[in-house]
C-alpha cells in the first residue's frame, strides 16, 4: 500500500482516530481494553495496592521487634508475615510497578500507537492481578507461605512444612512468572517493531534500554525459578526426590536454581527505574544526560554480568573456594557499570541547572542511596566478610537500600514526574516536599541502623531477640523510622488522590521535556499520536536549543496518518526504517477470560482438583485458539 505524510490537525485531535482507538464504555469495555495507557496505570495502581499491604506487614513486624522478647506475633505468624512481606514487595510490587511505567511510557516514547502485542499486554496484567490474589488466598486461613521469599529447602519440604503454605508459594511464583514472561516478550518485540521512523537504537531514551535489558533478562531468568518451584511442587505433591538427600536429591539445587533467577531479577527490578532517572533527571537539570552511550552500555553489561554472580548468595553453603573466588570477583565487577551510571548522574546534576522540585529530590536521593546500597553490596561480595554478615540484618539493610533506594525512590519521583502526563494535573509541590522528607528521613532511620545491628550479629528472620543483647535501642529506632517512612508514603498517597481531583492544569509539557511523550496532550488521546512522528535526534523536542541550524529536524506535526482501522507503523530493528503498516487488534475479552481460566487451573492444582484442572486446561486451549485465529480467515467465513 502507499502511505503519504499529512499534517496533524493544529489541535492534535482526530475524531476518526478517537473512534477507532477508544475503549468502549461500560464494564465489558473496561475488562476488554488493550490500551497500553490503561494497562500501565492499572499495573501501577495494583502494584501500589500490594505495596501498601506489604508495608503494613512490615509495620506489624516492626511492632513485634521494637523491643526484645515481645509476643505481639507468634513465631509462626511472624514467619508468614515476613515471608509475605518479601514475596509481596519483590514479586507483586517491584517488578509490576516498573512494568506499569514501561507499559504506559513505551509507545509514547517510541512514537507508536500501542505495544506490539496489545492483547498479550492485557493478558499479562490480568495474570499479574490474579497471581497476586492467588498468593494471598491462603493467608486468611493462616496458611500463607512461611519459608521466606527465597523459600529454602529442606525447611520448605513437606517433612517440615506440611500445610498449603509452600504449595501456594510454588504455584503462585510460577503463576506470576507467566505474567512476567508475557510482558517481557512484549517489550522486546515492541522495541524491534514499532519505533518511530528514525529512532535508531542510539536515539532511544535510556528507560527503553533499561526495560529492554530487564525484559531480556527475565526471558532467560524466570524459567529457572518456575522450574525450581515446579520441582518442589512435584516433591511435595507427587513424591519426587529432587531435593531430598535420602533419594539422591540435593537441597542446594534449589538455591542454585533460585538464585540463577534471583540475581538477574534483582537487576530487572532496578534497571528500568534507573532508566527512568536517566531520562527524567536530565530534564530537571536542563541538559542532556552525560554519557548516554556509556550509561546504555552499563545498563546492558550489568545484566550480562548479573547472570554470573548468583553464587554470592550461597557463599556460606560450603562450596569449593575456587567457585567462591570466581563468583566473588564477578560480583565485584558489577561495581564498574554501576559506577559509570552513578558518575553520569552526578555529572548531569553538576553541569546542569537543576530544578529543586519534589521529583528532583527523589532522583537525587536515589543516587545517594544507590551508592550506600552499592557499597554494602560490594562489602558482601568479599567472601570472608560475607561469612560474617550472611543471614544478619546487615543483608536486610543492604537489600532495602538497593530495593527502596533504586526502585521506590525513582518510582515515587517518577510518579511526580509523569503524573501530569497521566492525569493532566500537577501534583502538589509543597505537600510533595514534606512527604519526601518524611520518606527520606524515615527510610534512613529505619534501615541505616540495621547495618549496625547486623554487624553486632543480630540474625534476620527470627521473630524475637533476647533483651540483654544491647539491641533494644537500635531496634526501637528502626521501628520508629518505619512509622515515619509510612507517614511519608501516606502523604504521597494523599497527594496523588487530592491532586488527581484538583491539581493545577499541567498542559502538554510542564517540565519542557525532550522526548515524544511530551509532544502529545495530557492525558494523551487513545491513539497517542495524530500522525506517526519521524525522529532525527535523541531529544526531538529540544532540537531548537541543541541542534545545529542545518541538522535534520524531527517531524512531530507531520507524518503518516494510518487511520484505516487500528494501525501503527513497523520499522526495522536497528535503524528504524519504515517497513510496513501493522494492523493492530481490537479490544477483546479473551485475555481476561483466559486469565480467569489460568487462575482456576492454579486453584485446582493447589487443592488437587484434578478434574477441574483438566477442564481449566481445556478452556485455556480453546480460548488460546480463538485468540490466535488469524482475522482474515474468520472474516472470509463470516463468523
Amino acid at each position: 500500500m502507499i502511505i503519504e505524510a499529512v499534517d496533524a490537525p493544529p489541535s492534535g485531535d482526530n475524531p476518526k482516530l478517537q473512534k477507532i482507538w477508544e475503549t468502549r464504555p461500560g464494564l465489558s469495555g473496561w475488562l476488554s481494553t488493550v490500551d497500553h495507557k490503561s494497562i500501565g496505570i492499572r499495573y501501577i495502581v495494583t502494584a501500589f495496592f500490594f505495596m501498601v499491604i506489604g508495608g503494613l506487614e512490615a509495620l506489624v513486624m516492626r511492632v513485634q521487634l521494637a523491643q526484645g522478647a515481645q509476643n505481639f506475633l507468634t513465631p509462626e505468624q511472624y514467619n508468614q508475615v515476613f515471608s509475605m512481606h518479601g514475596i509481596t514487595m519483590v514479586f507483586l510490587y517491584a517488578m509490576p510497578v516498573l512494568s506499569g511505567f514501561s507499559n504506559y511510557l513505551w509507545p509514547l516514547l517510541l512514537g507508536a500507537r500501542d505495544m506490539a502485542f496489545p492483547r498479550l499486554n492485557a493478558f499479562s496484567y490480568w495474570l499479574y492481578l490474579f497471581a497476586g490474589l492467588f498468593i494471598y488466598s491462603t493467608m486468611p486461613f493462616g496458611q500463607a507461605p512461611d519459608a521466606g521469599w527465597f523459600n529454602y529447602v529442606p525447611l520448605a519440604a513437606k517433612t517440615y512444612d506440611f500445610g498449603l503454605n509452600i504449595d501456594v508459594f510454588t504455584l503462585g511464583v510460577i503463576f506470576i512468572g507467566l505474567s512476567t514472561t508475557g510482558g517481557a516478550i512484549n517489550f522486546v518485540v515492541t522495541l524491534m517493531r514499532v519505533r518511530a521512523p528514525g529512532m535508531s537504537i542510539n536515539r532511544m531514551p535510556i528507560i527503553i534500554w533499561g526495560t529492554l535489558t530487564a525484559s531480556l533478562g527475565n526471558i532467560f531468568a524466570v524459567p529457572a525459578v518456575s522450574l525450581a518451584c515446579a520441582l518442589l511442587w512435584f516433591d511435595r505433591n507427587l513424591g519426587t526426590r529432587f531435593f531430598s538427600v535420602d533419594g539422591g536429591g540435593q537441597p542446594l539445587l534449589w538455591q542454585h536454581l533460585f538464585w540463577i533467577f534471583g540475581h538477574p531479577w534483582v537487576y530487572a527490578i532496578v534497571l528500568p527505574s534507573m532508566g527512568m532517572v536517566s531520562d527524567a533527571l536530565p530534564t530537571l537539570c536542563r541538559r542532556p544526560l552525560v554519557g548516554y552511550t556509556a550509561v546504555a552500555l552499563a545498563t546492558v553489561s550489568t545484566m550480562v554480568v548479573g547472570f554470573g554472580v548468583w553464587v554470592h548468595h550461597m557463599f556460606a553453603t560450603g562450596l569449593p573456594p575456587i567457585g567462591l573466588s570466581f563468583f566473588g570477583a564477578a560480583s565485584m565487577v558489577i561495581v564498574i557499570p554501576s559506577a559509570v551510571s552513578v558518575f553520569a548522574w552526578i555529572a548531569t546534576i553538576w553541569t546542569g541547572r537543576p530544578t529543586l522540585n519534589t521529583a528532583f529530590l527523589h532522583f537525587a536521593s536515589f543516587v545517594l542511596l544507590f551508592v550506600i546500597g552499592g557499597v554494602s553490596g560490594f562489602m558482601t561480595a568479599a567472601v570472608p566478610l560475607d561469612w560474617q554478615l550472611t543471614d544478619t540484618y546487615f543483608v536486610v539493610a543492604h537489600i532495602h537500600y538497593v530495593l527502596l533506594g533504586i526502585n521506590v525512590f525513582p518510582v515515587l519521583g517518577g510518579v511526580y514526574f509523569w503524573f501530569p502526563k497521566m492525569t493532566g494535573r500537577m501534583m502538589n509541590e509543597k505537600l510533595g516536599k514534606v512527604g519526601f522528607w518524611f520518606t527520606f528521613a524515615g527510610f534512613n532511620i529505619a534501615f541505616f541502623p540495621m547495618h549496625i545491628v547486623g554487624l553486632l550479629g543480630m540474625p534476620r528472620r527470627v521473630y524475637s531477640y533476647a533483651t540483654d543483647l544491647g539491641l533494644n535501642d537500635l531496634n526501637l529506632a528502626i521501628t520508629l523510622g518505619a512509622f515515619v517512612l509510612a507517614i511519608g508514603l501516606l502523604l504521597f498517597f494523599w497527594n496523588v488522590v487530592s491532586s488527581a481531583r484538583d491539581g493545577a492544569e499541567a498542559g502538554k509539557n510542564p517540565w519542557s521535556g525532550p522526548t515524544l511523550e511530551w509532544a502529545v496532550a495530557s492525558p494523551p488521546p487513545p491513539y497517542n499520536f495524530a500522525v506517526i512522528p519521524t525522529i532525527a535526534s535523541r531529544h526531538p523536542l529540544w532540537e531548537p536549543y541543541l541542534a545545529d541550524a542545518d541538522a535534520p529536524r524531527s517531524m512531530i506535526d507531520r507524518g503518516f496518518l494510518l487511520d484505516d482501522g487500528r494501525q501503527t507503523l513497523a520499522t526495522s530493528i536497528l535503524d528504524a526504517e519504515p517497513q510496513a503498516v501493522l494492523s493492530m487488534p481490537d479490544d477483546t475479552l479473551v485475555p481476561f477470560l483466559i486469565s480467569l481460566a489460568v487462575a482456576a487451573l492454579f486453584a485446582a492444582l493447589l487443592l488437587h482438583g484434578w478434574i477441574c484442572a483438566a477442564l481449566a486446561m481445556l478452556a485455556i486451549i480453546m480460548l488460546a485458539i480463538r485468540w490466535l485465529n488469524p482475522p482474515q480467515i474468520r472474516a472470509a467465513h463470516g463468523s
Binding site: 514472561t181 522486546v188 513424591g239 519426587t240 494501525q567 503498516v581
Partner: protein, 196 residues
C-alpha cells in the same frame, strides 16, 4: 533540510502475514522455553555429578525404543519442512502436514509405552524423578506442538487466502525446537550415562 519520507510504498501487514510481529513473539517464546530446558538439564547433570554411586543407580537404560523414537521425531521435522514449503508456495500441504501429525502422535505413543516398562518410578530416586519429569516436560511440549499443527491444519483447510502462511511457519519453528530439545534430552538420559 527537507524531510525525506513523505511518500512510501510499504506492505500492509495483517496478523497472519508472514512478516507479522507473531514471528518474533514465537522466537522469544522459544528462547524462554529453551532456557527452561537448559535449567532442567542443568538440574540433571548437577544431581548426576553429586551422587556418590554410579549414574543412573540402576545402570544405563535400554535405548532401543528411544532410538526408534528419535528417528520418528526427526523425520517428522523433515515432513513438516515439506508441508511448510508447500503452504508457502501456494501448493497443497495437507498430505505432509497429516504425516507430520501422525509421526508426532506415534512418538507420544511410544514414549508412553516407554514409561510403563521402567523398573523405577518418579519417587524411587532422583534419577527416576529426573527421567519422568524431563521426558514428561518434553512430551507436554510435543503435545502442544501437535495441538498447534492440528489447529493450523483446520485453519488452512478453511482458508481461501494464499498469504496465510504465518501460522504454519510458527507451528513449524516451534516443532523444530521441540525436536532439537529431544536430541539434548536423548543424549543426556541415554548416551551420557554410557560415557561416564
Amino acid at each position: 533540510m527537507a524531510h525525506k519520507p513523505l511518500r512510501l510504498e510499504i506492505p500492509l501487514i495483517a496478523r497472519g502475514h508472514p512478516h507479522g510481529s507473531g514471528w518474533w513473539g514465537m522466537i522469544m517464546l522459544i528462547a524462554t522455553e529453551s532456557a527452561l530446558f537448559v535449567y532442567l538439564l542443568f538440574s540433571y547433570y548437577y544431581l548426576a555429578a553429586q551422587i556418590p554411586t554410579r549414574w543412573p543407580p540402576g545402570g544405563p537404560l535400554d535405548a532401543k525404543l528411544s532410538i526408534l523414537n528419535t528417528v520418528i521425531l526427526l523425520s517428522s521435522s523433515f515432513t513438516l519442512v515439506r508441508a511448510e514449503r508447500a503452504a508457502v508456495g501456494g501448493k497443497n500441504p495437507f498430505a505432509w502436514l497429516i504425516t507430520t501429525i501422525l509421526l508426532g502422535t506415534t512418538f507420544v505413543g511410544i514414549q508412553a509405552a516407554e514409561w510403563t516398562n521402567k523398573a523405577f518410578t518418579p519417587s524411587s530416586d532422583s534419577f527416576g524423578s529426573l527421567y519422568y519429569v524431563i521426558t514428561g516436560f518434553h512430551m507436554a511440549h510435543v503435545v502442544v506442538g501437535l495441538l498447534m499443527l492440528c489447529t493450523v491444519l483446520t485453519w488452512l483447510w478453511r482458508a481461501d487466502r494464499p498469504d496465510q502462511s504465518l501460522p504454519i511457519r510458527l507451528a513449524s519453528v516451534y516443532w523444530h525446537f521441540v525436536d532439537a530439545v529431544w536430541l539434548a534430552v536423548f543424549f543426556s538420559i541415554f548416551i551420557f550415562p554410557t560415557l561416564v
